[in-house]
């Protein structure tokens, strides 16, 4: 079976898909900012010596990680409004992505934090540094640079999951592609181009992350 690609249609379609791509990149950017900040908070709370803090945090992380992102997305978008919490589709998508991925980034931070030798904590105690100063000026400056490549990998993974947002009416790049497909029937062109756009961003990003990893490995 052969198929004649409609090149002209593809060219016409391109601007719409680019609009969608912008939405995808925006969702990724906001999502990763939320994931990285909330993940750090999770990681620190989980290490708390107060069990009333560390246990619930561990439980929340486990709960979020053990349920599919798509289900969380539907809960946020279709169920929460019935209880009065209404957010627009894009915000809902960013929150779902950010919170979901925060559970993964918290694990990444945890490994970085555990990699800081115990002697660093002990020196901080001996110098009478406050808890906040110990975290912000001693532990995290050593823990975070090590885990940046791992965070980068989650950034790319999250980017590739943004199309899930199309299911809650966000016109991301897949949403635009699907709209075009329904409108004109030229689905091969639409979805192929969507895939190509993802490749065009994912591959250079992966190369960048690998370079970061290599540079970090070279450092003492």
């Amino acid at each position: 079976m052969s198929y004649d690609i409609n090149w002209e249609y593809s060219r016409e379609l391109f601007p719409d898909l680019l609009d969608g791509l912008v939405v995808t990149l925006q969702a990724t950017s906001f999502g990763i900012i939320l994931a990285m900040s909330l993940g750090l908070v999770f990681a620190i709370l989980r290490r708390s010596e107060v069990r009333a803090i560390s246990w619930p945090t561990a439980w929340v992380i486990e709960f979020i990680r053990s349920t599919p992102l798509l289900v969380q997305l539907f809960m946020l978008f279709y169920v929460l409004p019935q209880y009065g919490l209404r957010m627009d589709a894009f915000t809902t998508g960013v929150v779902a992505l950010g919170v979901h991925y925060a559970t993964y980034t918290s694990e990444v931070y945890r490994s970085g934090i555990e990699g800081v030798p115990r002697g660093q904590w002990e020196a901080s105690t001996a110098l009478n540094l406050s808890t906040v100063t110990t975290w912000s000026r001693v532990v995290l400056p050593q823990a975070i640079p090590v885990v940046i490549p791992a965070l980068g990998n989650y950034l790319i993974a999250m980017f590739k999951e943004v199309p899930l947002l199309a299911t809650i009416t966000v016109l991301d790049v897949l949403g635009e592609g699907r709209a075009a497909c329904t409108r004109t029937g030229n689905c091969v062109e639409a979805y192929t181009m969507v895939g190509m756009l993802f490749l065009a961003i994912s591959i250079p990003s992966s190369v960048l992350v690998r370079q970061l990893e290599a540079r970090l490995a070279r450092q003492p």
Binding site: T125, A126, L127, N128, R137
Partner: protein, 280 residues
């Protein structure tokens, strides 16, 4: 001090010389202090007193609990029983309505200010220069301005013979240099009590001398109370006002260095010293 012959004669800028002068009675007091790791009793109802300005050297076989004494004082290990006092204040307890209750974090932090510690493995902050390692806590904890803290740090690094290394990160320093930065860092907090936990054990033999030189200088020229855990017997004999032989969580015997090293009363002390001195 092979690379800095003028250090032993210089008084460490007078900044620590005053500490401890106004203290009455014991500066450090342990009463019935017990510390266990699982079934292993590392401190067994330990009673101990150290006078202001006294230099106490703690010796004993490894695993005997001698390092734990320092770690309990630094609040790195919490004892299961007993009380610890530093400069007249309880470390793990505070008075409330005439009763001794477990101390709040705030109280612990306040009393802990009087103590500083130098570790076997230096524990310098690798992401900071030598100067920042020393200046950081005085700024953050003692509230010094950046200029004041840097000045204090520069002076102290000079005292330990590292004036030319202020801008270096620890990764570019030798073990002996790292340990001298760590000593300067501890001194910068102007403690009443300094703890030295096997500070030469992780060093290459040829670097031990420069660190001992700094310690000797501190012992002779300051009135800080010093507690040292060490395996350097010659050094212990030279600078100690008192030597404590420690084994199995208890003080086996203690006394002036001449007595412990020349005329030990206990068989365990004799065995330990013979083993250590034979090896050396």
């Amino acid at each position: 001090m092979p690379d800095n012959p003028d250090v032993p004669t210089r008084k460490p800028s007078g900044l620590v010389a005053a500490a401890g002068d106004d203290l009455e009675g014991a500066n450090v007091r342990f009463e019935q202090v017990t510390k266990q790791f699982g079934d292993l009793v590392v401190l067994d109802q330990l009673d101990m007193e150290v006078s202001p300005g006294e230099k106490v050297v703690i010796i004993g076989p490894s695993g005997s609990g001698k390092t734990t004494i320092l770690r309990v004082l630094m609040t790195l290990e919490r004892p299961e029983g007993g009380t610890v006092e530093v400069g007249g204040d309880h470390l793990y307890h505070e008075q409330k309505n005439g009763r001794l209750v477990p101390a709040s974090d705030k109280h612990v932090r306040q009393v802990r200010r009087k103590i500083s510690m130098v570790f076997q493995h230096f524990n310098l902050f690798p992401h900071m220069t030598a100067l920042d390692n020393v200046a950081f806590a005085p700024r953050k904890v003692l509230g010094l301005s950046k200029d004041e803290a840097n000045e204090r740090a520069t002076n102290l690094l000079e005292v330990v013979g590292l004036a030319d290394k202020v801008g270096e990160h620890p990764s570019r320093l030798s073990g002996g240099q790292k340990q001298r930065v760590a000593i300067a860092r501890a001194l910068a907090m102007e403690p009443e009590v300094m703890l030295f936990d096997e500070v030469t054990s992780a060093l290459d033999p040829e670097l031990v001398g420069e660190v001992l030189g700094v310690l000797r200088d501190l012992a002779e020229n300051t009135s800080m109370t010093m507690l040292l855990v060490t395996h350097e017997m010659g050094f212990a004999r030279e600078i100690g006002d008192r030597v404590m032989m420690f084994d199995a969580g208890r003080v086996v015997e203690q006394g002036p260095p001449e007595q412990i090293f020349s005329d030990p009363q206990e068989q365990r002390t004799r065995d330990f010293l013979r083993a250590v001195l034979d090896r050396g």
